[in-house]
């Protein structure tokens, strides 16, 4: 179905009893994994609405990523595709692996499609929080980052450590592989983005996103960090989201912002919400038509859509809770946010199906 961002609508709300921290759709599109302040990851089945708790972490999980076969992305041509409100999901997903990193520094491996997943591998990956997890395009390598100021690479197959990338001087908030698989970016509290050449393990350049960082001299503390990060599928653009213009770090008074980098030249462009919303951007992604979508929150939540050519966003959706994370459905027509109110809200970005006439 065609994306019509102006038609964005709530498709389903998936309730959990505790505030959520992160969320990710699995590659088949059937499941939505949401991490919670109760240290669990909840797997919502979008077709059956079944809810399964993944128990194994002893702290909050912010980073989640998948290792899967490349053919799982649902498409209209897949005969086993089920459709709910226009959202496609594979009825019988191929087995995939979920990797999740927690705030005690542990990286856990799960068989994501099992009836009651248990962690089958635990790696003490970082000293302190793991803030993000990413998987390389060829599915061979896992990247993690955290408060120990390190970026680490692991074998996706067996969890072996492959490399430690040093150089950040503050907490590393996010990590993402370039679609080419040859480069990795990592982004820290102070808005420094390192571009690593994976063949050498060396940084080849830095991108400046310091607009996200401030040392609040009123409270004597740093606020910042790239809270969400994504490449477009062609690898020509890198989008980062966070908070800027902070006037009071301890009350969260500032504005969400997306910094869009031209990857080849490293030039940034600032994309702002047009409604002067106060809060933090927590997730960003690219739609297939090039639209950039971000989500975040303060007192309540927002989803913003930008045409990359415009500085101000073109459409805004109000969300009834602080959106702490955002994930894009693999069919490209829906997204979900992890709500501070304990609910995952799934939004379709398509025209609602016409009501079936009563017979």
């Amino acid at each position: 179905m065609a994306i019509e961002i102006a038609k964005t609508r709530l498709l389903m709300d998936l309730k959990h009893g505790r505030p959520l921290v992160g969320c990710r759709f699995d590659p088949s599109g059937r499941y939505l994994f949401a991490s919670s302040e109760d240290d669990t990851i909840v797997r919502f089945d979008l077709l059956t609405r079944e809810k399964v708790a993944l128990v194994g972490h002893s702290s909050w999980v912010r980073g989640m990523a998948f290792v899967s076969k490349p053919t799982l992305v649902p498409a209209a041509s897949i005969p086993a595709l089920a459709v709910h409100g226009g959202l496609g999901a594979v009825r019988m997903p191929e087995p995939f692996t979920l990797l999740s990193g927690d705030y005690h520094g542990n990286l856990l491996w799960w068989h994501g499609t099992e009836a009651a997943p248990k962690p089958f591998r635990t790696v003490a990956a970082h000293a302190g929080w793991i803030r993000a997890v990413a998987v390389s395009p060829d599915r061979s390598t896992v990247a993690t980052c955290g408060n120990d100021q390190l970026v680490k690479l692991w074998s996706a197959a067996d969890g072996r450590p492959l490399a430690t990338l040093e150089g950040h001087t503050s907490h590393v908030y996010n990590v993402a592989f370039h679609p080419s698989g040859t480069r990795l970016v990592s982004a820290d509290l102070k808005g420094n983005i390192k571009d690593w050449d994976l063949s050498s393990g060396k940084p080849v350049r830095e991108l400046d996103a310091k607009v996200f960082h401030k040392y609040d001299s009123g409270f004597w503390a740093d606020i910042g960090g790239i809270r969400g990060i994504a490449f477009n599928s062609a690898g020509t653009q890198l989008a980062c989201i966070g908070i800027t213009n902070v006037s009071n770090a301890f009350a969260g008074v500032g504005n969400p912002l997306v910094v869009l980098f031209d990857w080849a030249e490293g030039k940034p462009k600032l994309l702002k919400p047009k409604d002067a919303f106060q809060g933090t951007g927590w997730g960003v992604n690219f739609l297939t038509d090039g639209t950039i979508v971000g989500a975040g929150g303060g007192g309540q939540g927002r989803i913003w859509f930008w045409n990359p050519a415009d500085a101000a966003n073109t459409h805004t959706v109000t969300v009834p809770t602080n959106a702490r994370d955002m994930t894009l459905h693999p069919d490209g027509t829906a997204l979900a946010i992890a709500g501070a109110n304990g609910t995952c809200l799934v939004y379709s970005m398509t025209q609602a199906p016409a009501a079936t006439p009563k017979k």
């Binding site: 408060n147 503390a221 969260g252 602080n322």
Partner: protein, 425 residues
């Protein structure tokens, strides 16, 4: 977010040495009628001191002394074992955990006041704000009761994060400005402490000054002139001890141990001042008012607090000073067990904690208890009054005795409370 009653650091609060001396002189007259010589003698002989580390804004008890991991309020951090079996504190305080055998935790505090200014008043005066009567801060009381009359240095000093010094006569209340705090903003010495290079100190010039002063006093002697003379002499003592305020004279290795940052430097200065004979030192560390992203900010702030605090405990212990120095880590209040939608914690005075050490307190002990998720005190509830009594009992004083401002008896500590006897030796 509630407004914060932090020191504003404006020029209105800043006086130089001359104004400080003027205030001190006024204080001498006011102080004369309120002494309790027997009690003062009792304390002076014991040479007790007190250090308050004030974590401004309200530090989270759940991220410090009373963690509740894996509960609905616990947040993401671990509780770690300490040097005392069975006692766990937050993983954000790994160095303090290794010194738990020196510490005493009070986990059952309920001060019933969630506003910054009034919360600070309770913690610093041991009483709630009352109309018509302002009570002296703990530092002023300690200075009055513990400081030797002939002491060369002020008895009540506070080290604040921001620059700018000052003399804070209001915190001594009816005890008089002599016992008010002198602020060392950013750990810098009092303004005009050092003599300008162009002014000499030759004996002939000093003798001439004294001669003129004596001649004036003979004809116009008064309490005021006496006070000014005494204050000049007190100031001269302070000037002669200017090095006491200079933490850069400490061994650079000590500075490395404490940490090459502002709070490390301030804590090292606190140690120096206590060793030099200052009765009461308060070091403020800011800021903990984390309505937003409480966990990130506590990582940053406690990451700065933990090591200097541990180093100071070690040094006091090694130098034999911990037996006679009361150390208290306090805030205006704690923070809400409930985590808000911005990962923040708000103000919470109903169930929180203070850490203490030294001066004969039972080390490695915990008194008071909160429920499973930290929302309420379930055992040995105490308030600021109990703490105030406990401080002065530990310092060897009877806090049920009175001051007599304007002839009216005012108990040193709130008579509605009593010391936490379980932790007193």
């Amino acid at each position: 977010m509630n407004n914060c009653n932090y020191a504003c650091g404006t020029a209105d609060h800043t006086v130089n040495r001359r104004l400080f001396l003027g205030g001190a002189a006024a204080g001498l007259a006011g102080f004369a009628g309120m002494t309790t010589p027997a009690a003062a003698r009792e304390l002076k002989s014991a040479q007790k001191r007190m250090l308050v580390i004030f974590l401004s804004g309200g530090v989270s008890q759940l991220e410090t002394w009373d963690p509740k991991p894996n509960t609905d309020t616990g947040g993401p951090f671990r509780a770690i074992p300490t040097s005392v079996p069975g006692i766990h504190i937050s993983e954000l305080l790994p160095e303090a955990a290794k010194r738990m055998h020196l510490l005493t935790l009070v986990r059952g505090i309920n001060t019933k006041e969630d506003e910054h200014g009034r919360g600070a008043t309770i913690m610093l005066t041991g009483r709630r704000t009352e109309p018509g009567l302002v009570y002296p801060h703990v530092g002023a009381v300690a200075a009055k009761l513990l400081t030797d009359k002939d002491a060369e240095l002020p008895g009540h000093i506070q080290i604040t994060p921001r620059g700018g010094g000052g003399f804070n006569k209001e915190d001594a209340a009816f005890l008089g400005p002599k016992f008010a705090s002198v602020t060392l903003g950013d750990g810098k010495p009092p303004a005009d402490l050092l003599r300008p290079a162009a002014i000499t100190t030759d004996a002939e010039r000093e003798a001439f000054r004294k001669k003129l002063n004596d001649r004036f006093a003979k004809s116009r002697r008064s309490a005021q002139t006496e006070a000014y003379t005494e204050s000049y002499e007190q100031a001269a003592k302070v000037v002669s001890r200017a090095d006491a305020f200079d933490a850069s004279r400490e061994d650079p290795k000590a500075a490395d141990r404490y940490g090459r940052h502002d709070f490390g430097r301030h804590m090292l200065l606190a140690r120096r001042l206590l060793e030099q004979g200052v009765t009461f030192v308060k070091v403020s560390h800011t800021n903990y008012d984390t309505h937003h992203e409480n966990f990130d900010f506590h990582i940053e702030q406690l990451g700065e607090f933990d090591r200097p605090f541990a180093m100071l405990l070690d040094d006091l212990k090694e130098r034999g000073l911990l037996e006679s120095t009361l150390v208290v880590v306090m805030s205006e209040f704690g923070r809400t067990p409930r985590i808000n939608d911005r990962y923040g914690r708000d103000h919470w005075s109903k169930a929180w904690s203070v850490a203490m050490a030294g001066c004969g307190l039972k080390a490695g002990a915990v008194v008071g208890k909160t429920n499973a998720n930290g929302t309420a005190v379930t055992d040995r509830e105490v308030n600021g009054g109990h703490l105030f009594h406990t401080y002065f009992r530990a310092l060897g004083m009877d806090p049920t005795k009175n001051f007599y401002p304007a002839g009216r008896p005012v108990p040193i500590a709130d008579p509605k409370a009593a010391a936490i006897h379980e932790i007193l030796s």
